[in-house]
Amino acid sequence: MTRWKISVDKHACISSGMCVAIAPGRFVLDGQQRSGPVEAVIEADEDVRDAAASCPSEAIRLVDADTGQPVDLD
């Protein structure tokens, strides 16, 4: 099973809440309404891929946890 590593650039995040709505349980907003992953390393999850592809500020980075290669967002 492929594992992904999620990171969110808090400076780029514009608090749209898009990721929290698309992939509930995978992302959480902090006190400043900035997003971050609930768990940084997860089993591959299409909702998380959708959340990264839909992020208006391209703040979500997804890489293969084992190889470090970027995950295709299409």
């Binding site: 898009m18 839909s54 208006p56």
Partner: protein, 399 residues
Amino acid sequence: MTVESSPVKFTPALPGQPAADIRTISGDRPVFRAELPDGRIVWLVSGYENVRQVMIDQRFSRALAVAPGQARPGVEMFAAGSINGMDPPEHTRLRKLVASAFTVRRIDALRPRVASIVGELIDAMLDGPQPADLVTGFSLPLPTQVICEMLGVPAADLEQFHAWSDVIIGDWQRDGDEIMTALAELYGYFGALIAVRRARPAGDLMSALIAARDDADRLSEEELTAMCCTLLIGGHETTANEINLSLLLLFDHPGEAAKLRADPGLIPGAVEELLRCARLGNLPPARMTREDVAIGGVVIPAGEQVMPLIGTANKDPLVFSDPGRFDVSRDAASHLTFGAGVHHCLGAQLARVELQEAFRGLIGRLPGLRLAVPASELEFKPGMAIHSLRELPVRWDEP
């Protein structure tokens, strides 16, 4: 937890009038049942956290709220066939097709083009007579030109599609047949335009959407047409009136306007404060509960219409100190004017860039910009979805 019985009659304030204090109407309850002037019974939700929850929590469905058979104004009939009236996963599939064209990075690359359109419109105003109508001379053509160029729609057709758009998103008491006729005509217009682009693709968003349909079958023909209509209407009605209402706010607060003239570096922050304070519409897109949901101390049963009152979130004292004060130097960026969750405004960054460049141009090049008539003489079009000014007559000091 209680489930309430009798709805409170709720008539939204007219455009240009101060908003009613919702806590007075509701007896200080953040969530309560209300009867709207069109007879709909809805749960009104106020306060920052509650409003945010309704928009992010997928137990509140957009698709159910706009489904055929539901009582809905024209703007919701329009939403029913579009991305604005869908839930995940259908919504996500369509949103991903257009998301990349509207990212912060891609829109920032359009800023020089937006600034150049602003410059041309102000040149024309300076060459023309005073007073001038800012609606026809500036606030409407700016976003219209920008979205037409992005989408690949001839801006020359502006008056035609504006007439349809007025019928569709305008007066919510309007006859349903009239709205459906205008919708059908707008869809027909786009059907013809899509056929032209299909034969001769260009570098615009419409061509990219056609390719997503024809090459990869990622959306249906009807979804393609609906997407183009939504982008066109969503891309100009809101921004045009946000410019108008923002200017009215600045005219009412000359001290704040003077700060922007003295330091244009304050403009991006001021745009967030204007977005927080200007009341662009009264009634937000409704949601419907999929199941019983506890919120704000009550349980809303399944199958009920819910409206998150964004204005109350933007004036929540827990989030914005002294929320009634208009202050261009405060940090207002956490306002919920663009919504939140999957329906967070696709064009948020485009609107920000357009508003920033608009005020940079208007404040920088039209010194002493002011209303040419008393504010009480301004007329709004009927309708509750967007507060749309018919005309905004202005004067400025000759250089």
